[in-house]
C-alpha cells in the first residue's frame, strides 16, 4: 500500500513529462526484476538485457497504465512476457548460429554486454546480504523491530506504532536510524 502511494506519485510525474522520475522507479525495482528474469533466463548478461528491455517497454506503455493494479504487478507481467519472448526467440535461433562481432554492435544493450565483461565490478549477493544481516544484528532492539516490521512485514507506521506502543514520530525516527546504521555498513562495499 505504501509502495503504491510513492509509485503513483512517481508515475504521475513521468506522465507529466519528467523522465527523471522514471529513473527512480527503475532504481527501485531493478534488483527485483533482474532476480525475477533470472528465473527464466539463466545467462546473467541476457537477464540484464531482458530486464532493461522490460523497463523500456514499461516506459513506452506507461500512458496506458491506469493504476488499477500496483505498478510492480504490472511491471512484473511485462518482465515475464519479455523473458518468455526472449526464450522463444532463442529457441528459434539455430544452434551454432552465434552472433558475430558486427551484429553485437547493433544489439540494444550492447554496452551492457561489454560492461558485463568486468565481473569484479559486480557485487555478490551473499556478500551484501551477510553485511546487512550483521548490521541488523548489531542494532538496538527497538530499531531492529521497527525496520523488520516495516521491511519484512510491510506494516504502516501507524500499525508499527500500535504494535510497539509508541508515537508515529518515534517509529519514523527509528526506521530512519536503522536504515542509516545499515547503510553506513554497506556503503564501503558499494563504493568498492
Amino acid at each position: 500500500m505504501a509502495d503504491k502511494v510513492t509509485d503513483k506519485q512517481l508515475i504521475d510525474r513521468v506522465k507529466k513529462g519528467e523522465k527523471a522520475a522514471y529513473d527512480l522507479l527503475v532504481i527501485k525495482y531493478q534488483q527485483r526484476i533482474v532476480n525475477l528474469v533470472s528465473r527464466f533466463v539463466r545467462n546473467q548478461s541476457d537477464a540484464l538485457d531482458v530486464t532493461q528491455e522490460a523497463f523500456i517497454k514499461a516506459y513506452r506503455a506507461l500512458p496506458n497504465f491506469r493504476g488499477d493494479s500496483a505498478f510492480y504487478t504490472w511491471l512484473y507481467r511485462i518482465a515475464v512476457n519479455t523473458a518468455k519472448n526472449h526464450l522463444a526467440v532463442q529457441s528459434r535461433r539455430p544452434l551454432g548460429n552465434d552472433y558475430d562481432i558486427s551484429e553485437i554492435e547493433q544489439i540494444d544493450g550492447a554496452d551492457a554486454l561489454k560492461e558485463q565483461a568486468t565481473p569484479e565490478s559486480l557485487l555478490l549477493r551473499d556478500e551484501l546480504q551477510s553485511t546487512v544481516l550483521k548490521a541488523i544484528e548489531d542494532l538496538p532492539e527497538d530499531l531492529k523491530t521497527a525496520i523488520m516490521l516495516r521491511e519484512i512485514e510491510g506494516l504502516s507506521y501507524e500499525e508499527i506504532a500500535s504494535v510497539m506502543e509508541c508515537p508515529i514520530g518515534t517509529v519514523r525516527s527509528r526506521i530512519f536510524r536503522a536504515r542509516e546504521a545499515i547503510e553506513s555498513e554497506m556503503k564501503p562495499l558499494l563504493e568498492n
Partner: protein, 188 residues
C-alpha cells in the same frame, strides 16, 4: 544532504511523507538518488529479492536509452458519463408508456358511448382522482367483431404487429425494437 532530508526520504519511501516537495529534491539531487538506491537495496536484501550479482547497470542503461525516447505526456483522464444504469430505466419507462397508451386507446375505442362530461359543463372545485371508465358491456346480440369499427381496429392491430416485427429486424436504433406492441381485444 542533511539528516532531516534523509529522514524525510526514508518516510517518503514508506509512503508516509507528502511527496511533491521531496520528489523535486529527489529527482535533481544526485546524492539523494544514491541514498534512495541504497535504502531500497536494504529492503530488497531483507526480503531476499536480490539477484545473484548486483549492479546498477540496468538503471544506467535504461536512463541512457530513454534519453532518445519521446517524452510521455499522458492525456488527462476525462470521466465519461455512465449511461448504463439509465438505459434499463429508459427501456422500462418506454415499455410502460406504450402499454399505457395502448390500453387507454383501446378503452377509448371500446367505450364510445360513455358519456364523458364535457369540460365546459363541469366546474372543477377540488382535485379529483382519475377514474378509469367502466368497460361497457355490449349487448349479447351484437357481435363486436362484426361492426365496421372493430374490423378496422383489427386491421390496424395486425398492421401494427407486422410493423413492429419487421422494424425490430431492421437494425434501426431506437426504443421500438425493444418494445412489444400490445393490443387488447375484448373477448365476447
Amino acid at each position: 544532504m542533511n539528516e532531516s532530508n534523509k529522514e524525510q526520504l526514508s518516510a517518503f519511501i514508506d509512503g508516509e511523507h507528502d511527496g511533491d516537495h521531496m520528489l523535486d529534491k529527489l529527482i535533481h539531487d544526485v546524492s539523494m538518488k544514491e541514498t534512495w538506491s541504497r535504502y531500497h537495496l536494504i529492503g530488497d536484501c531483507l526480503r531476499d529479492n536480490l539477484p545473484e550479482k548486483i549492479s546498477n547497470q540496468v538503471s544506467t542503461n535504461v536512463s541512457k536509452a530513454l534519453r532518445d525516447e519521446p517524452t510521455i505526456l499522458a492525456p488527462k483522464n476525462t470521466k465519461q458519463f455512465n449511461f448504463k444504469p439509465f438505459a434499463g430505466f429508459a427501456i422500462a419507462a418506454s415499455v410502460a408508456m406504450v402499454a399505457v397508451f395502448s390500453i387507454k386507446s383501446d378503452n377509448d375505442q371500446n367505450s364510445p358511448s360513455i358519456g364523458a362530461p364535457s369540460l365546459a359543463a363541469t366546474t372543477v372545485s377540488q382535485p379529483q382522482a382519475f377514474d378509469f371508465p367502466e368497460p361497457q358491456v355490449l349487448p349479447a346480440a351484437v357481435k363486436k367483431s362484426d361492426t365496421p369499427e372493430s374490423l378496422a381496429n383489427q386491421r390496424l392491430n395486425n398492421y401494427l404487429m407486422n410493423h413492429s416485427e419487421y422494424r425490430s429486424n431492421g437494425g434501426v436504433n431506437g426504443i421500438l425494437p425493444y418494445a412489444r406492441v400490445v393490443t387488447i381485444e375484448i373477448q365476447e
